[in-house]
């Protein structure tokens, strides 16, 4: 019950802050339409003959870039929450409240994650409805399970990024590098099979590669969970293991920062 009240308090805080910044959210929404439009014309320029992994190119890109954007924004939201608390000086005040640090950090990013989720849905709707990507053939159960797994992985990587921010105050740079690597290797814009063989091995180590393959199949071909095979066998245990590991690592770095006296450094 306390957790829910805190969640609502964070949403209220961020809603009030956002509403007092004027039309920033509306500008983000308009930006989504332009982004989808750009990929639509890229796909038109490439032509209908190109069908990566058997999907039409525009659908391939919309799902790839949408999920990549959501994943990275979620990871980044933790660093932003910590950094803003460090810059505003509220981190020490928050860390002396009755709330434990791990839920505190997770909750701090909650409204950003909700906003990212809404943006992802809006982006996919714009792509599939406004610009007429391929007809959807969705397996709802697979889509829900994959969404939960992707969210769990994003939370885990986000908490790890928050740990980097607390530890060496370079969380933003690490997230930028992380985002660039998964952009290139996870099959966001082009199929992984296009990469040279040694780099394909690296691509197969990135969870988002499996998530994108599975999600495209679940959304465009109606593929069920049981048909997804190795991808699910990799994603599900990874999500289950990585989340508590990330919370543990964050707790250790927080303790280290309290020992070094660097909690409010930025």
């Amino acid at each position: 019950m306390n957790l829910l009240r805190k969640f609502v308090a964070v949403l209220r805080r961020d809603w009030l802050t956002g509403s007092r910044y004027g039309a920033a959210s509306a500008l983000y929404a308009v930006g989504l339409v332009f982004e989808a439009a750009a990929f639509y014309f890229v796909a038109r320029a490439v032509g209908p003959a190109y069908r990566p992994d058997g999907f039409d190119f525009f659908s391939f890109i919309v799902i790839g870039t949408g999920i990549w954007g959501f994943f990275l924004a979620t990871v980044s939201s933790f660093v932003t929450a910590i950094r803003e608390a460090q810059v505003s000086g509220s981190i020490e005040a928050l860390m002396t409240t009755a709330t434990k640090p791990s839920p505190l950090v997770t909750l701090s990013a909650a409204s950003t994650i909700l906003r990212d989720s809404a943006q992802l849905i809006a982006y996919l709707l714009v792509g599939f409805l406004l610009f007429g990507a391929a007809a959807l053939h969705v397996n709802a159960l697979a889509l829900v399970v994959l969404a939960v797994l992707i969210l769990a992985l994003a939370l885990a990587f986000g908490i790890l990024a928050a740990a980097v921010q607390v530890s060496i105050q370079k969380g933003g740079a690490v997230v930028w590098l992380f985002g660039s690597v998964i952009w290139l290797f996870s099959g966001t814009m082009f199929p992984v099979s296009t990469l040279p063989a040694p780099l394909q091995i690296l691509a197969k180590m990135i969870p988002l590669t499996y998530a994108l393959d599975a999600l495209r199949a679940a959304m465009l071909k109606g593929t069920s969970l049981s048909q997804m095979g190795s991808g699910m066998a990799y994603l599900a245990p990874l999500a289950v293991i990585l989340l508590p590991v990330a919370v543990g690592v964050f707790g250790l770095t927080l303790r280290q920062a309290r020992r070094r006296g660097t909690l409010s450094y930025y």
């Binding site: 306390n2 009240r5 805190k6 609502v8 308090a9 209220r12 805080r13 009030l16 802050t17 007092r20 910044y21 505003s88 000086g89 509220s90 020490e92 005040a93 928050l94 860390m95 002396t96 409240t97 009755a98 709330t99 434990k100 505190l104 303790r255 309290r258 020992r259 070094r260 006296g261 909690l263 409010s264």
Partner: protein, 262 residues
């Protein structure tokens, strides 16, 4: 019973770390073997020059920092082993003025922190009005924090610290940005909190403030405890001043002799 107990505490900043051995930071011994006790329901004042370790001591008590050696106990709880229990009993008015969400009003900021302090929901609106009144901010409660003056932010920080009616209240130079009338109001509030059993520890540079509120004084000098004593009668700033300079000078003289060639 000792509500605050500090035993042989040492805190060093800038230590070389195993994770970054190439860095050679210069060490600062912020606290060096400090031992202190403050009884329940008393007001203790930490005096000392800038950099003497007063804020470090308050941060150790509030769990923001961990000691390198020694033991810090608040309400019988070890701050290194049972930090959750410590945070439930400690209210800390951090010295930094920038510790609020600038676009939220004072009332909205307090509401946010009240939820994170896990106050019962039904009591929150009444408690917020009480603490706003206690620091004389009721008429400014709907102003955004970014529009507050330094003194108002300081008072809002104190309001936040007393939200949960803490058993131990830690204040870092509470009257620094306050006008004389506001300072006197604050001292009255601290004395009334003491009457209800709250233990208060204040870091200060102000002899008048110390004389007005202190039951006990501890003087820190270069991270070491230079002296401490129970203080009475209340109101004698000259006595505080004399004690402060007697122990500070004694420490300086002892240090000078220790460092002098044989």
């Amino acid at each position: 019973m000792a509500m605050i107990e500090i035993q042989s505490v040492t805190k060093i900043f800038g230590r070389r770390e195993w994770a970054r051995p190439w860095r050679c930071p210069s060490e600062t011994r912020a606290l060096d073997g400090v031992s202190l006790k403050f009884e329940t329901g008393r007001i203790g004042v930490l005096l000392g020059p800038n950099g003497s370790g007063k804020t470090t001591l308050l941060k150790l008590l509030s769990t923001i920092l961990l000691p390198d050696s020694g033991l810090v106990r608040v309400g019988g709880h070890d701050t290194a082993k049972n930090e959750d229990a410590v945070r439930r009993v400690v209210g800390f008015a951090v010295g930094a003025e920038r510790s609020f969400f600038p676009r939220l009003t004072a009332r909205e900021n307090l509401r946010f922190f009240a939820v994170f302090e896990e106050l019962p929901p039904a009591t929150i609106p009444r408690r917020i009005e009480e603490v706003l009144a206690a620091v004389n901010l009721t008429s400014d409660a709907d102003k955004q924090a970014m529009k507050f003056s330094s003194g108002m932010l300081h008072r809002l920080g104190i309001a936040r610290a007393i939200l949960k009616s803490p058993a131990v209240l830690l204040l870092d130079e509470p009257s620094r940005s306050l006008d004389p009338a506001a300072s006197e109001e604050l001292w009255k509030m601290l004395l009334s909190m003491k009457e209800t059993g709250t233990t208060v520890l204040v870091a200060s540079h102000n002899f008048e403030e110390t004389a007005s509120i202190a039951d006990a004084i501890a003087v820190l000098d270069h991270g070491r405890l230079a002296g401490c004593k129970n203080f009475s009668p209340r109101g004698d700033a000259t006595a505080v001043r004399e004690f402060y300079f007697s122990v500070s000078q004694a420490r300086s003289e002892a240090k000078r002799l220790a460092e002098a060639p044989a």
